[in-house]
């Protein structure tokens, strides 16, 4: 008997271990494929090589401002020269600024071939051969597609110039709007349901519906957002009733509409988490408050909310991190496919990180896959930061309650 029991125990332990290992391996493969894409050798070809345009022993980076201006004059049209001077006169521009003009207008490097991290590390010989045979004029460089420039540049159709600032601000603004809507509404509902609602038919029905809402596929929320925020409330969500001067090309497909849609999407999650947090407040705490002659509201405000707040926040952060990864409701709610400008108000058109990533992976140029990988890393870092914050809060909670 004992041997059979021990064997069963061992088998179940192995099964669980295997399951854990499979999960971890899958995660590692995923991480590997992302990082594999985001770094690696590239070959770029200059339209004009720096030596061609700068007849000097020095590097282009060491050229003086005057030398740089004369390079520009030699290589671009007079009209373009005048336009640059009009935008900001050359005397006011810094040397770095003019160097950048030289780089983009004259040297104009273009990436013609890119490798993954593994082939860069293990196939360097082959890469150098390709360089010699196919791109005699090309230059080899190890490139991190995830770079400060990538983080700070707006969208562009050239892979090496594109960046995610548009999508990043879009995503952050969406989350902000969603949380401003969903947090007070969700916590308020949770307080009502836990503290005030009597367990009658209507309230049970409401409770049941909240559980159901939390399980509804997000695309349904997208349809709701489209019907309510984009179409029905268009005068408000497009900002037209606030000001006529607002550029109204968005027609309700604004960051506000999408943020509100995401807010509704995470509302049931926030409610359920907050309810659980409030239910976790020990009965004895309530009783000691009531026993001193406190009203219901004083008990809620002074004891129940402070006691449960970090758990409410933990749940809300996790809800927000779900919203960060949502794509379907945004597509329906009208996230634009190509926005080259950072959203400047809640009435702007917008794009968001997951949508941007999807678009980049759908482009024909292979370089965009590397750009997408870099963007995925940014998205993952954001998600991990949010989750780490949630975990820290949870630990803080259990420490505080032990006194």
């Amino acid at each position: 008997m004992d041997i059979i029991r021990q064997r069963k125990n061992l088998i179940s332990k192995i099964v669980f271990q295997m399951a854990t290992i499979i999960g971890i391996v899958a995660l590692l493969i995923l991480m590997f494929s992302i990082f594999n894409e985001a770094f690696g050798y590239v070959i770029f070809v200059n339209e004009k090589s720096p030596h061609e345009i700068f007849n000097s022993e020095k590097n282009l980076g060491e050229a003086t401002k005057e030398e740089l201006i004369s390079i520009l004059e030699d290589n671009i049209s007079k009209g373009l020269m005048r336009r640059f001077n009009f935008e900001q006169s050359f005397s006011e521009r810094s040397a770095e600024n003019i160097l950048e003009l030289v780089m983009t207008e004259v040297v104009n490097p273009k990436i013609v071939k890119a490798w993954s991290l593994t082939s860069s590390l293990f196939g360097k010989k082959k890469i150098i051969e390709t360089l010699k045979n196919d791109y005699p004029k090309g230059n080899l460089e190890f490139r991190s597609w995830l770079s400060p420039n990538f983080l700070l540049s707006p969208q562009s159709s050239i892979p090496e110039k594109t960046g995610i600032i548009t999508a990043l601000t879009g995503s952050l603004m969406l989350l902000l709007i969603a949380i401003i809507l969903a947090f007070p509404l969700g916590v308020g509902t949770a307080i009502y349901l836990e503290e005030y609602a009597k367990p009658n038919r209507l309230n049970n029905l409401i409770q049941l519906n909240i559980y159901n809402l939390a399980g509804i596929p997000s695309i349904i929320y997208g349809m709701l957002g489209l019907a309510v925020f984009v179409r029905f409330l268009e005068p408000i969500t497009s900002g037209k009733i606030f000001s006529q001067t607002i550029n109204s090309t968005a027609n309700g497909r604004t960051i506000l509409s999408a943020g509100l849609t995401l807010g509704i999407l995470i509302l049931p999650i926030i409610i359920i988490n907050a309810q659980e947090a409030i239910r976790g407040v020990p009965k004895s705490l309530r009783f000691s408050s009531f026993g001193l002659g406190a009203t219901q509201w004083q008990t809620i405000w002074h004891h129940i909310l402070p006691y449960s707040m970090d758990r409410i926040l933990t749940g809300s952060i996790l809800a927000v991190s779900r919203a960060l990864g949502e794509t379907a409701p945004l597509i329906l709610g009208g996230a634009s496919t190509f926005v080259a400008q950072k959203p400047d108000s809640v009435f702007s058109k917008f794009t968001a990180l997951p949508i941007q990533i999807y678009q980049w992976t759908a482009r024909p140029q292979p370089e965009f896959r590397k750009v997408a990988a870099a963007a995925i890393i940014v998205l993952l870092v954001l998600l991990l930061t949010l989750n780490a914050g949630a975990i820290l809060l949870r630990n803080h909670h259990s420490k505080k309650k032990k006194g």
């Binding site: 026993g291 001193l292 002659g293 006691y307």
Partner: protein, 256 residues
């Protein structure tokens, strides 16, 4: 009874849903005395106690019948506000349950919500001294109350109840979670407190009831598990010359 009464329970019945937990209780509680409720577990002692400051209102499905007269009014009259009633009839619970705040905040919170106008520091000192806790905590008033020992926490809960200046303090087995030394401290404390307050204590410990209380009520369940009052009287008489057979069996340990 020669003592002045502060509370009269008249035909008190308490139901949880359809279950009658307490049946037809009639008794008068004397002012500035310690009255103890004893009886086997589940006989409705806590239920009676919670009925006295309407704490049962917080439990869904409870129904109370009969009257509890306090200050010439039935506290179950619709115009009586349960919140202000609880300021006059405070409660100390079985398990020490200080707020997860500092020691002094534990004392001042009740005063604050009752818009107390006096000096808070004085109130803290006065209440802690009255609860015989001051000397042990006077140097760490801003520390979290949950760091105190169980016995200290319970005395803090008593100090917290005193700070609201109630007429009556209800105590539901206040020492049952504590060690013998902490229990003795609480018992000594109760004896001094009854000069200023009326104390009603629930205990399953008969020695404790006989040591500290002036009056004792003995409760039992009937065949329908409803608790009823078997005998009530001066503690000295009830323990030495019980009038009822059940009481005699119970206090001599022959119960069950």
């Amino acid at each position: 009874m020669e003592d002045k009464n502060i509370l009269n329970l008249k035909n008190l019945n308490v139901y949880y849903g359809d279950f009658r937990a307490v049946k037809d209780i009639n008794l008068d509680i004397p002012k500035n005395k310690i009255t103890a409720f004893i009886g086997p577990s589940g006989c409705g002692k806590s239920t009676v106690l919670r009925a006295i400051n309407r704490m049962n209102d917080l439990v869904d499905g409870t129904k109370t019948e009969g009257e509890i007269i306090f200050q010439n009014r039935n506290i179950y009259n619709p115009e009586v506000d349960a919140v202000s009633l609880r300021k006059q009839i405070g409660m100390v619970f079985q398990k020490p349950n200080p707020f997860p705040k500092s020691i002094s905040e534990n004392i001042t919170w009740g005063a604050k919500i009752n818009s107390y106008k006096g000096n808070m520091e004085e109130l803290v000192e006065e209440s802690l001294k009255e609860a015989a806790l001051w000397d042990e905590v006077k140097d760490k008033l801003n520390e979290n109350a949950l760091r105190l020992s169980g016995g200290q926490q319970q005395r803090l809960c008593i100090a917290r109840a005193i700070a609201v200046k109630p007429e009556i303090i209800l105590m539901d087995e206040p020492a049952s979670a504590l060690d013998p030394i902490a229990t003795l401290k609480i018992e000594d404390l109760m004896k001094t407190l009854c000069m200023d307050f009326t104390i009603i204590i629930v205990t399953h410990n008969m020695q404790q009831a006989s040591r500290i209380s002036d009056y004792t009520a003995f409760m039992m369940t009937d065949d329908k598990r409803s608790g009823n009052l078997v005998e009530y009287g001066k503690t000295s008489e009830l323990f030495i010359r019980p009038k009822n057979k059940q009481t005699e069996d119970y206090i001599s340990g022959r119960f069950g």
